[in-house]
């Protein structure tokens, strides 16, 4: 595990405790975690540093997850894979697919399952 290049995941959620959970999960697999609490602040982070995966909520207090997904699709200089983690049901899978979402995680989620996904996706 120590030989591989260290990777970074950007977690976007306005729930401090939830980003905390992702931080702990990512720590377990020696992965860096940066956080943002809105679509706009996530875009600001992306302009500053490279990330290997984004996990974003959809409905947040400030600008929502779709602001970020649209940025990723239309404006981002490089293609960054994004997973959606949301408890919001009024979104069709077609809508998410049109944004090239790599994984849909619905809240509440199984931490162990997400650990397996992250290991496989980032280092598999």
């Amino acid at each position: 595990m120590n030989d591989r290049p260290r990777k970074t995941v950007l977690v976007v959620d306005d729930e401090k405790y939830l980003t905390g959970i992702w931080q702990e999960i990512l720590k377990m697999i020696d992965t860096d975690c940066v956080t943002a609490d809105s679509g706009d602040s996530a875009i600001a982070v992306l302009k500053d540093r490279d990330v290997d995966l984004i996990i974003t909520d959809l409905r947040m207090r400030g600008s929502d997850g779709f602001v970020l997904l649209r940025y990723l699709k239309n404006e981002a200089p490089t293609k960054i894979p994004a997973a959606v983690c949301s408890g919001f049901y009024n979104v069709s899978s077609e809508e998410l697919m049109s944004h090239d979402v790599v994984r849909v995680i619905s809240k509440p989620f199984d931490v162990r399952e997400e650990l397996d996904f992250l290991k496989a996706f980032l280092y598999g």
């Binding site: 702990e24 931490v111 162990r112």
Partner: protein, 365 residues
Amino acid sequence: MENIYLELISFDEMFQSTPSCLKVVSSRGELLHMNPQGLALVEAENMESVFRANVYDLVAAEHRDEFIRFNRRVCSGERGSLVFEIIGLKGSRRWMESYAGPYKLQSGEIAHIAITNDITNRVEAEKEILEQRQALVNSARLAALGEFVGGIAHEINNPLAIISGKLTLLDISLESDELDTTAFKKNVREVIQTTDRISKIIHNLKTFSRDSDKDDFKYCSLEKIIAEMLSLCAEKLRLSDIDIECQIDPEIHIFCQKVQISQVMMNLINNACDAVMETDVRWIKILGRRIGGLVELSVSDSGRGIAEDVEEKIFDPFFTTKELGKGTGLGLSISSSILSHHNGKLIHRKDSISTQFVLQLPMSE
């Protein structure tokens, strides 16, 4: 003149071939005469078989009394129209629209003469339109409910994700050799806090349920409602060093569900408390007065006010600017729905120098 007409047409043939039902009914409801179109509607073979039969029996039970009254009115000299349903001799139901007037028989007795049309198709089409409209209303209501449930799902799924996530992390940490008790305790505390958050949401949701609307509307003194409500938050206001000024016209009585209005005021006071905590000068003013035909109850505070970009969202369910765990985002939307239930309004007054919310209620007699 009359002779020219008689040469051209026979009144009997005219009676026979009129496309509407023509009939004469006695004041007791006996059928005295009916043309073939009418006989076809009541499913009779010929006039002989139904002569002096009681037409009341042909009228559907739910329209019969009304028809009898109509017949009596007509036979006592009135004109009028009536829509009713008949059941033919062979059992088919049809909707009729009848235009009737008095008709003097040769015996001198006044009978009921009427032109009656079959309007079954029209009635059914109208019924269908009504049903479609009802279906639209229902689906709109369902859509609104769906949206609301979706909002709740999101609000509860977030804390649920925190609880299940943290518990799994705790479970994993128990499997490792060294246990970080400080981190463990912190996580446990956060789980407890988060379950509290769910119970708060559920508690507030109760207001939306039918049960809380069941309270009777009563005439209440506005001054008394506010005094009771303030006694519940006096301690909080004192500890937070907030000055409260309250001026209520003692004459004002409102017809309301007292607990619901208290809840609205409690929500506004809670919001005001949170807002003034961020400022050095802390005051809340409550003013109750009559303006025109309305009762206006306003809550103003010394807080920094509501930012323009969130102003339009403040009444949306689950919208909150408060810190995590502090607000459910339901206060103003619940308050607003309570006010409309009271034929009133909850307004955020933008032109006020301080932050001001106003309850407008209709005046009680």
